[in-house]
Amino acid sequence: MSQSRPVPNDNRLLAHLPGEELELLRPHMEQVQLAHGDLIIKPHVPIKDIYFPLTCLFSMVTTMEDGSTVESGSIGREGMAGTPVLLDAAETTMPTFTQIPGEAIRIKAATVKEVYEQGGALKKIINRYIHTVIVVSSQSTACNRLHHIEARLARWLLMSSDGVGSCEVNLTHEYLAVMLGVRRAGVSEAAAKLQEKNLIRYNRGNVTILEREALEAAACECYHVVNAEYERLFS
């Protein structure tokens, strides 16, 4: 479903674009409402559209030969889905689907690539974003090996909350288990611990962050490392 009057300021990449380049893209922007599970990038299929989340959260998934899947990353309003097109890869191995429903701005990939290749602010902003994606990926690999579940869960809840711009996020046990690379019981018990400290309220997949500062204190250093890098490049 698409709507009129896109509000690009809710996406941090588009919000950083100077007026001239934003105006180049604006006529091609389409604000769309995405439902949980909507597949926006199919594996090994040329990417035709680029999505800039406003209130939704995307999930990138790695699928193994036996069919098992592991989440490789999430994309919220701090980023975009469809970077392979800009990197001349055209397609990717990883499907991307909507984890948390909400709105996004959709633009034809060819249009974004045309503006990107002009070498202006859009290219600089997107290159910096791709750098942060690499930082997040590296940090997450280390995080999953070294940090305990409670701190990792706190980090992912904060990241997801930042991604959708709300202190309430819909995240199931199953999704969190995949994101954190742990078993459901681990998610359940870590969430129970955070809930007992009154940092979150968790009911049937609905997570509400009650004490943000305290949850940040409970999160591992990775949340702060990634945030600091993002702020360095985008403030």
Binding site: H148, I149, V182, R183, A185, A192, K193, Q195
Partner: protein
């Protein structure tokens, strides 16, 4: 816990996952249980031999279906020297949305929990140990 004051129910926990084990043990102790820990089936069969009493057997194994974990749990319970009717709770790992959030009583004293909420396991354990104590 509806038992006599000061009574601390004992849970025999078999938890294979290194990430989950410490936090689950910590939470069980916080909920007021005495926790006897085993790392896997083999370790559990060794340890249960020396256990005089447990109020509940809680099993969470990696890479097995709930039915397979139930079989493991029953073998451990049969091996115990104490009451053979101890409630057995198995934590399921892979399942569909249709059973999410349910605790299924699969046999007289055997339960499979399909976790969805943080308080779900705590509530089930409280219910089973209270019933047993009462």
């Amino acid at each position: 816990m509806s038992q006599e004051p000061g009574y601390q129910p004992t849970i025999f926990l078999v938890e294979e996952d290194d990430d989950t084990r410490p936090i689950l043990k910590h939470n069980l102790k916080t909920y007021g249980y005495r926790v006897l820990l085993a790392l896997d089936e083999e370790d559990a069969l060794d340890r249960i031999d020396g256990v005089k009493h447990a109020d509940l057997l809680l099993v969470n194994l990696v890479g097995k279906t709930p039915d397979e974990v139930l079989q493991v749990g029953r073998r451990i319970r049969e091996h115990a020297r104490y009451d053979g009717h101890t409630p057995l709770v198995v934590i399921a790992e892979k399942f569909g949305a249709d059973v999410e959030g349910t605790d299924v009583n699969v046999a007289a004293n055997d339960w499979v929990t399909y976790l969805e909420d943080p308080g779900q396991l705590r509530n089930l354990l409280r219910r089973l140990t209270s019933k047993r104590e009462g």
